[in-house]
């Protein structure tokens, strides 16, 4: 009988869900996974053999908190994995965690220092978590020096061996094989709905200038020409075909480009707990900060070679999610 892991992955957008699914899909080969999420994108994606406890993103703060407590108190599990927020996104885990005897793991994405200080999170994490995993973040971590902290490579939703081959990737992007021999810009339009318009404008501008552009997003961004828009999840499967990527400074965008060795023109968006600008500037190479549309377009013009020089096959990389699975085996054995 496989052990059951309860994974807490609350938070808006794709980010938390995508990162934790990267782990869950490999962990599901050894464990039974129960996943709690309130992502508005949950219904659109393959949840990788996980038992999903979906909480409506429209639920009130009180309803969400009550439902979370109910799940944690009623469901059976052998261990807990909490993504990003040590006390829970609404603080609801603060009272629950000390009473959970099963092993507890924190996935440590970047967190606002003010938040860490206000809630004295370092001490809370030290006391309440058996293991802290930093999944590839180069940004400073308040928990990095705790004895139970381990860093892995970034967690990606697909390993390099699972990426689409050239014909499939070209098809997913609506390109012919011949077109793939021309430089390609892929725009990853992620984040909140209101933020998509910016990417639509960039896509429109570059398309008008004659660049070969594809814009990948869950919904069509305003002003993005329909013929260059594609909706495919996970984008990583075909992202490797790009010569340059324009996207946010979110965890998944930054590390997917990092692992595929793709130049990224990254536009930071403000978040309450995350700091995308910090993540962008912490990247050692191939990541350029653009604070507005015109800078993003200018950087793209400067960085993109007019001739395709990139090999038409995906770069090989290690997926930190698989490393994490081995680390988890030690704690949940």
């Amino acid at each position: 009988m496989p052990k059951t892991l309860l994974i807490y992955a609350l938070g808006g957008g794709w980010g938390h869900l995508n990162r934790i699914l990267a782990l869950a899909r490999v962990a599901a080969t050894k464990y039974r996974i129960k996943l709690i999420s309130n992502s508005p994108y949950l219904s659109r994606i393959d949840t990788e053999n996980c038992q999903v406890f979906a909480i409506s993103p429209q639920a009130s703060f009180q309803q969400t908190g009550d439902r979370l407590k109910q799940i944690i108190q009623q469901e059976a599990f052998d261990g807990v994995i909490v993504d990003t927020f040590p006390r829970g996104l609404g603080g609801e885990l603060a009272d629950l965690l000390p009473n959970i005897r099963q092993p507890k793991v924190l996935v440590n994405r970047y967190l606002n220092l003010e938040y860490i200080q206000r809630y004295r999170l370092k001490e809370f994490v030290r006391r309440n978590y058996n293991l802290i995993i930093i999944p590839g973040e180069n940004t400073p971590s308040a928990f990095a020096d705790l004895p139970q902290t381990i860093k892995t490579n970034p967690w990606l939703i697909r390993g390099s061996q699972k990426l689409a081959n050239l014909p499939t990737a070209a098809d997913l992007l609506g390109l012919t094989i011949k077109q793939t021999q021309q430089p390609l810009i892929i725009i990853l339009a992620s984040g909140y709905e209101a933020e998509l318009a910016l990417y639509g404008e960039i896509a429109h501008s570059l398309h008008q200038q004659g660049y070969q552009v594809r814009c990948l997003s869950g919904t069509l961004p305003p002003t993005c020409p329909l013929e260059i828009w594609r909706c495919h999840y996970p984008a990583l499967e075909c992202l490797w075909l790009a010569d340059l990527v324009i996207g946010s400074g979110g965890y998944n965008t930054v590390f997917e480009c990092d692992r595929l060795n793709l130049p990224l023109v990254a536009i930071p968006h403000k978040r309450l707990y995350d700091c995308q600008e910090t993540r962008i500037t912490a990247q050692q190479s191939k990541c350029w900060l653009a604070k507005d549309k015109s800078t993003a377009v200018k950087l793209t013009q400067q960085l993109l070679s007019p001739i395709k020089t990139k090999p038409l096959k995906p770069t090989q990389f290690n997926n930190g999610a698989e490393e994490a699975l081995e680390i988890l085996a030690a704690i949940f054995s």
Partner: protein, 218 residues
């Protein structure tokens, strides 16, 4: 010289009436307007109109006469029958008192000693406050924390401002603040603004936002 200036407010089209001591600087950018001329405090009249420059004009008294200088061209502006025009704004003025110097108060407080004026004119005219200036308004220096019972010359917080490199450079903020003043608690009589909850939002930073209140945050 103490004068009453009257002009029409652009935003409200209502007549504005202010009582000030000369010299008086007129413009839209408080950062550009001088705070002292020859050791004397300069009163400010901020007007946000396309015809008004950042520091447009200076109203001064010379030999008992009011003269107005265009600071853009460095030439005088004509004054006729207690009227003058700055940009497209027409001003009228009335001389209330010939008294020029502050009263013989101890320390740096600026108490007018004009008999026959309202009680308000006996209040300290020195501007106090670090970020948002306001008249001291005390009728006596005794117990005043700003001039230390009249012992100290007010330093206008100069030593504090050196720590804030861009203090006074508000750019567009000053304009919107003045333009939107009707949304604040603005008192036409004393020209003071009280901050409201809306102002708090305007000044809010990431660090001020409440954590653990939003399940869709990231």
């Amino acid at each position: 010289m103490r004068i009453k200036l009257t002009y029409t407010d652009i935003a409200t089209q209502k007549p504005q009436e202010i009582v000030v001591n000369t010299p008086v600087a007129i413009g839209w950018d408080i950062g550009e307007l001088p705070t002292k001329i020859q050791g004397r405090d300069v009163a400010h009249v901020l007007i946000f109109d396309d015809s008004i420059a950042a520091y447009h004009a200076l109203v001064e008294e010379r030999k008992g006469q009011i003269i107005v200088k265009d600071m853009e061209s460095d030439r005088p502006i004509g004054v006729s029958k207690n009227r003058f025009t700055v940009g497209e704004i027409k001003f009228t003025f009335e001389v209330l008192s010939e008294v020029l110097e502050p009263a013989s108060v101890v320390g740096g407080g600026s108490f007018d000693r004009v008999d026959g004026l309202s009680n308000d004119s006996n209040k300290c005219q020195k501007m106090v406050g670090f970020l948002v200036k306001r008249p001291c308004d005390r009728t006596s220096p005794i117990g005043c924390p700003h001039c230390n019972d009249g012992e100290d010359d007010l330093n206008d917080y100069d030593s504090d401002y050196v720590y804030y490199e861009n203090y006074g450079s508000y750019n567009d903020w000053g304009h919107t603040y003045y333009r939107d003043r009707h949304y604040y608690h603005y008192d036409y009589d004393n020209r003071r603004v009280e901050f409201t909850e809306a102002d708090n939002v305007a000044f809010e930073t990431e660090g001020d936002r409440d954590f653990e209140q939003d399940y869709s945050a990231s």
